[in-house]
């Protein structure tokens, strides 16, 4: 008995270690807060405050390689967007191109990347499901939400399997061929995925009914989520940073040009 309780404690510690010692709900709260405030703050000063704090939050996960890859991909997409905006400004004089004017939208994207990456890199599917249960949502919202989160890795595996099958049959599916033959790609890739999704939904639905999942049913979570002082500290810091960003926006952002808003 003692051995089993000790091993449960060890597993709990190991899971919390893998998740950066923070509860998923606190990371969700930070993501939600950031997504709301980054839209409200339209000045460079406020966005800089948000960006610096969110970058420190992303660094705290210490997944340098994943962070570098994500930033490289974002830099490429931002470069393309800047190039297109510059091209449009050459054709339409009413829309002048200014790097300052693009800074705020780009920083919004970077802030969201900084808060979503720690959530994606540290949280396991089981922890997400437990957190979703902890939100006390109605059954008709909780079950599809849980299925959605649980099904995403399965669907990604299905995509991989279908594309490998197509490779074996001689079809080379890359970005180039997708752009050259979009309908063919849709037919080859999308139709099998649709069939597999429907089959998976049938199987999961039957399994759910056989296990007695229904409205008013009592579910016992596999592992209870624990809200610690670290989570409170993280959420308090996030609220503080958002207040600071809003203050910077109101105090110094009034001189910002309308193009930057």
């Amino acid at each position: 008995m003692r051995a089993s309780s000790a091993s449960r404690k060890d597993v709990g510690k190991a899971v919390r270690g893998a998740e950066g010692g923070l509860d998923v709900r606190s990371r969700m709260a930070v993501t939600l807060l950031a997504s709301a405030v980054t839209v409200m703050v339209a000045s460079l000063e406020g966005q800089t405050a948000l960006f610096v704090a969110s970058l420190a939050y992303a660094f705290s996960v210490r997944r340098w390689r994943a962070l570098a890859v994500a930033y490289a991909a974002m830099a490429v997409m931002m470069g393309l967007a800047a190039l297109f905006t510059w091209g449009i400004s050459r054709v339409t004089p009413a829309m002048p191109f200014s790097p300052e004017g693009m800074a705020v939208p780009f920083m919004r994207g970077a802030v969201m990347l900084n808060v979503v990456l720690p959530l994606a890199l540290t949280c396991r599917v089981q922890a997400l499901l437990t957190a979703l249960k902890g939100l006390r949502l109605p059954f008709c919202v909780y079950l599809p939400g849980a299925v959605m989160i649980r099904f995403i890795p399965t669907f990604m595996d299905d995509v991989r399997q279908v594309s490998e099958t197509l490779k074996i049959r001689g079809y080379r599916l890359g970005p180039g061929s997708m752009i050259r033959h979009p309908l063919m790609t849709l037919r080859l890739l999308f139709t099998p995925l649709l069939f597999r999704s429907l089959r998976a939904s049938e199987e999961l639905g039957i399994a759910a009914e056989l296990k007695g999942l229904e409205y008013g049913g009592r579910f016992v979570p596999f592992r209870r989520s624990v809200w610690s002082w670290r989570d409170t500290l993280l959420v308090t810091l996030a609220v503080g940073v958002c207040a600071l960003a809003l203050y910077c926006h109101v105090r110094w952002g009034s001189g910002t040009s309308s193009a930057m808003r």
Partner: protein
């Protein structure tokens, strides 16, 4: 309220969850594979989303399906993907409009009630998204010149998705996966 919440069967809820995941992942993959928002990937993304929506509405024939699907999408997008909160009200209003339009034909068989719901959802949510974009860029309305073609191209994809949805439902019925 309790009756509405408890009337859903687990099997129907699972289908909604699976389709929410499939639509989210496939649209993200198309956007990434297309190297960002070029017109083709924008059309493809909307086409796949609408096709999945039509198939789901034919698989789960119950009032409230599209609204529940949107609510699930909104919750997961907000909590896990950091979605822009301003884009969510247009989706919810679009879902409510689609439910209203589908209500008279709720007992009807066939694919057309689902197609009508998906078409209403796409049209209303895209129109309201344009309104939100205008609100953001009202100081510089010339910027809307860029937004309108993007939304229009996306909507063309959605219209294509209605046709491919009907075709997919026919094939799935033929295969016995969707039953009347």
């Amino acid at each position: 309220m309790r009756h509405i919440l408890s009337s859903w069967r687990a099997r129907e809820l699972v289908v909604i969850g699976v389709f929410a995941a499939a639509s989210k992942v496939s649209t993200l993959l198309i956007a990434l594979a297309g190297g960002g928002m070029n017109p083709l990937s924008l059309m493809g993304k909307n086409l796949v989303f609408t096709t999945l929506l039509v198939v789901m509405l034919c698989k789960v024939r119950r009032p409230g399906t599209i609204f529940l699907f949107t609510v699930i999408n909104v919750i997961v997008s907000m909590l896990l993907l950091g979605a822009n909160v301003t884009l969510l009200p247009p989706m919810l209003v679009g879902a409510l409009a689609a439910e209203a339009v589908m209500w008279p034909g709720r007992e009807a068989e066939g694919v057309w009630n689902g197609v009508l719901g998906a078409a209403t959802f796409d049209a209303v949510s895209k129109l309201l998204s344009l309104g939100v974009s205008w609100m953001f860029m009202r100081e510089n309305p010339a910027m809307m010149i860029m937004v309108v073609p993007f939304v229009a191209v996306g909507y063309l994809g959605s219209v294509g998705g209605l046709f491919s949805g009907v075709k997919a439902v026919k094939e799935l019925r033929h295969a016995g996966i969707i039953r009347q």
